[in-house]
Symmetry: C2
């Protein structure tokens, strides 16, 4: 399994919502409005890259995917709190 952080700027609102739903469907959790994280196996990582290719189609859209080793993940710092509007709240 590998830890990923996905960060995106998607211009179109409806498309942005669909991307968020897709990221949740492969097991990622939201940590900010436009950032998700989670641990993926190699197949799911390929799915993620395919999803990103599809959703970054408009030239105003950009998505970054960072894969973090355990040590880098442990060094992350969060300032402030994120309150997911839906149920699954990610507590840091």
């Amino acid at each position: 399994m590998v830890r990923v952080v996905v960060v995106y700027d998607i211009h179109d609102d409806e498309k942005r919502l669909r991307l968020a739903a897709k990221l949740k469907s492969i097991g990622l959790s939201r940590i900010q409005r436009s950032a998700f994280t989670g641990k993926l196996d190699s197949q799911r990582l390929k799915d993620l890259y395919r999803i990103c290719e599809y959703f970054a189609s408009d030239d105003r859209d950009i998505i970054h995917v960072f894969t973090l080793c355990g040590y880098d993940w442990s060094r992350r710092r969060a300032f402030g709190t994120y309150r997911e509007v839906e149920q699954n709240v990610v507590i840091f």
Copy 2:
């Protein structure tokens, strides 16, 4: 030097602009609307954490700072393109 990725949700527009200017002032470059990256020495990293503490004061604001080793940074993937409106364009 350490490679950082800073990702933020800042509710207030004027405050968000000031944070972006601060991040640029310590040597970071924008890679997306609300994401910056760059390499910082230990003093600048402390400055960054202090800046994040200050700017994540409103309970709707959140900032994540990830520090990436060279290997993790080399594995990053960018989908789509980011066109900085100002001069310093970051080419991936």
